[in-house]
Symmetry: C2
Subunit: 257 residues, 2 copies
DNA sequence: AAGTGGTCTAGACCACTCT
DNA sequence: GAGTGGTCTAGACCACTTG
């Protein structure tokens, strides 16, 4: 790299006042932020390759090693996927070998994929509780989707999905039904919304009349309630989902470190 | 480092036959394996500092950068903890700010710590199902521990814990009761067993008579069943645990990436 | 053969902690 | 001030993929 290239060096960091420097942001972290900004702006789309490490190093005026560290972190966070000899690619929910990257439900035996059945998709006004979680105002336009996932014809999951109306303008029952693969893939290609992270709150609950009917279990049967809040770039919440899982033939798998 | 130091270079890797080289093990991975071996042998105990990167580099005859990469991975896996300016330390369940590193249960409000109540601790013969999970033989000596965790006097968790008898020879009710903090801390200091990873299978179940009584919930109330298999170095399973969580005032928190 | 990511080295300097 | 981990660079070479 050229010698006088520190256009964004650590030393340039703004210091709020004499005391307590603002915790020091290393170069690679700034490079990472720039790459994320490019992802967010759509410069590179889901599944596409980003420029090579050397190209990025030239572009940002830093060494390859610094770009490498930024990309390494992003690969560890599943924002990017590295493939030796081929390049670095924008992670996607669409063409992944494991469909449903965020679904931790596993069958006790076998490995059949799940069939999808759309129940409903309608425009709604945001209820207070939903609005709060998504940092919207009560009454803001939203879209509610309900669906069932089945294994070998037996219903296993009942999902109730809430999306901000302004981000998913043209979403409709037909569009959802036409699409193959996970919803998150459709969200990427049709609406430019990437889900990169989620938080789940899990409880055991008793099936109410509606859930019992739809999941074909007795009234009061124990179900796993999985409340998921999904985030896109910049930790912006863009989906709230409440799943009811029937855990007679499946279980929720988790790994602890 | 001295020039002729590649005592364990990548090129030395044994190749099984002409075709399909055994997938290539980089130097840093071999260093990592050596460090893990030292941890396993007890050369550095839980909570202690390991040698500095430069010392390790000298010892293994590689550059600091290679040691750094090995240690970075181990820190990412929570085997080691780096502290700038101080050193690198063996991770421990004992003196951690967050007690219960593996417990994902969170209160809906507040942040009270949980009180522990020991119900039982006895020597047992391994039932078939337990033995299989821990790769033992049916009838092998085991220790079974039952306990309750309570929040503000209200029982929240009922745990049933199975441990291989040969690894936990002197374990007794008194010893468990004397000890402060999480069991996993005691296992480290008293028995040299470090839990480094675990897999959980989660289901919703209905409370049976015994659980209902101990957790003070109605018969048939929905409970979270959390089956945990814990591993020590070398992916050796050393604990099977079945927890029943009452999720009226708490929830199981998970993060997806 | 060319291009990509992956490994390894060596050295300089910075930020943090402790004595 | 000495010692530790953290950042950044520059260059060499290796492993893998594709044309």
């Amino acid at each position: 790299m050229s010698g006088s290239s520190r256009s964004i060096s650590a030393e340039d960091t703004v210091r709020a006042d004499g005391a307590a420097s603002p915790s020091f942001s290393p170069l690679y972290a700034q490079i990472k932020a720039l790459i994320i900004a490019s992802l967010q702006s759509g410069e590179w789309k889901a599944g596409e390759a980003i420029p090579s490490e050397l190209d990025l190093a030239k572009r940002f005026g830093v060494s390859q090693g610094t770009v490498r560290k930024a990309v390494d972190e992003m690969a560890a966070e599943n924002l990017l996927v590295r493939r030796q000899g081929r390049g670095t690619f924008v992670a996607t929910h669409a063409e992944q070998k494991v469909q449903y990257r965020f679904l931790r439900l596993m069958p006790d035996e076998g490995s059949e994929s799940l069939e999808r059945q759309l129940l409903d998709c309608r425009r709604q006004r945001a209820p207070a509780a939903i609005a709060r979680a998504l940092q919207l105002r009560t009454g803001d336009p939203m879209i509610e989707v309900r669906r069932i996932l089945s294994s070998k014809g037996v219903p296993v999951v009942l999902d109730d999905i809430w999306l901000p109306g302004d981000l998913f303008k043209g979403l409709s029952t037909e569009r959802l039904n036409l699409h193959r693969g996970p919803f998150y893939g459709l969200f990427e290609t049709e609406f430019g919304v990437h889900m990169i992270r989620a938080e789940e709150k899990i409880r055991a609950v008793a099936a109410d009349a509606e859930a019992a009917c739809l999941l074909q279990v007795p009234l009061g049967a124990p179900l796993l309630s999985v409340e998921r809040l999904s985030f896109t770039y910049g930790d912006k919440a863009v989906e709230l989902r409440r799943g009811l899982y029937c855990t007679a033939t499946h279980f929720y798998r988790n790994e602890l470190n």
